[in-house]
């Protein structure tokens, strides 16, 4: 992926069904979790997330949205959509 990411935007990374990829387009960093989950659901259904095979049945109710502001190691905001992690 080679995209310009502004300070008010974020890359969205998705882990779904044992696969991982980024949304092709950035989103506003301050968008709501519901917005993120909606966009990701549509992208997964449409098969437009590089690295993740398209699936018609996508249910992200057990997924979580995390936000990480830019830092020295990663100079862009990151939003991760991930499965829950209750185990240790």
């Amino acid at each position: 992926m080679n995209m310009e990411i502004r300070q008010d935007e974020a890359r969205v990374n998705i882990t779904w069904s044992g696969q991982n990829g980024d949304l092709p387009d950035t989103v506003r960093y301050d968008c709501t979790d519901a917005d993120v989950l909606g966009w990701v659901t549509e992208a997964l259904r449409g098969g437009t997330v590089p690295g993740i095979a398209g699936q018609r049945l996508v249910d992200l109710r057990e997924h979580v949205v995390d936000r990480f502001p830019a830092n020295l190691n990663r100079p862009y905001n990151l939003i991760q959509v991930r499965p829950k992690t209750p185990f240790g």
Binding site: N73, K84, F87
Partner: protein, 192 residues
């Protein structure tokens, strides 16, 4: 000498102990009340001979036998009544627990006393791992009865990779006070 207290020596915790065994000037204490089950030896740093034994005592014996490494053991459940005694003098708390209630107890104690606390967490399907400092850590609810539990041997490589990044975060913190975190997923490792 820095005191690291690892709460939970199951999938992540048991591997973390052996990864940080050579850190200089570090005393390791492990807390866990569970016993080693047959299924645990598929994914945890416990030998078959330890089945039925206390996890922390088995860990102590393994570390002594393999690495001549001393580990202090607490074979009890962490509770509101003993949390001050068990965690109060830690320089770093490492949460490798697998239940939300106990994680909450650790988190509340660490926040109340402004203590350094690192959490390790795994998804049930073994496809997502988190190494995350307490300031950013939200506790995920456990799955309902009958849900997947990340206990099969097929997840061992992912569990060990996550444990190795926990150890890396611990090392970086001890060396310079940094609080680096990671997420591990099928696409690789992301620094958070």
């Amino acid at each position: 000498m820095k005191k690291i207290v690892i709460v939970g020596v199951g999938a992540l915790g048991s591997h973390v102990v052996q990864f940080i065994r050579s850190l200089p000037q570090v005393a390791i204490t492990v807390i866990d009340r569970d016993r080693v089950e047959q299924k645990n030896v598929l994914s945890q740093f416990h030998p078959k001979q330890a089945v039925g034994r206390s996890k922390v005592l088995a860990m102590q014996q393994t570390m002594s036998f393999l690495f001549s490494r001393r580990v202090v053991t607490v074979p009890h459940r962490l509770t509101a009544d003993n949390v001050e005694t068990l965690l109060g003098d830690a320089d770093l708390i490492v949460d490798c627990l697998d239940n939300a209630e106990a994680r909450g107890l650790v988190q509340r104690f660490a926040r109340r006393h402004r203590m350094a606390c690192l959490h390790g967490a795994l998804s049930a399907a073994g496809d997502f791992g988190r190494v995350i400092w307490d300031e950013s850590f939200d506790i995920d609810a456990e799955p309902g009865e009958g849900g997947a539990t990340c206990e099969n041997g097929e997840h061992l490589p992912f569990i060990v990779a996550t444990a190795a990044h926990l150890a890396l975060a611990i090392q970086r913190h001890l060396e310079g006070g940094d609080q680096v975190g990671f997420t591990l997923h099928p696409g690789g490792v992301t620094s958070t």
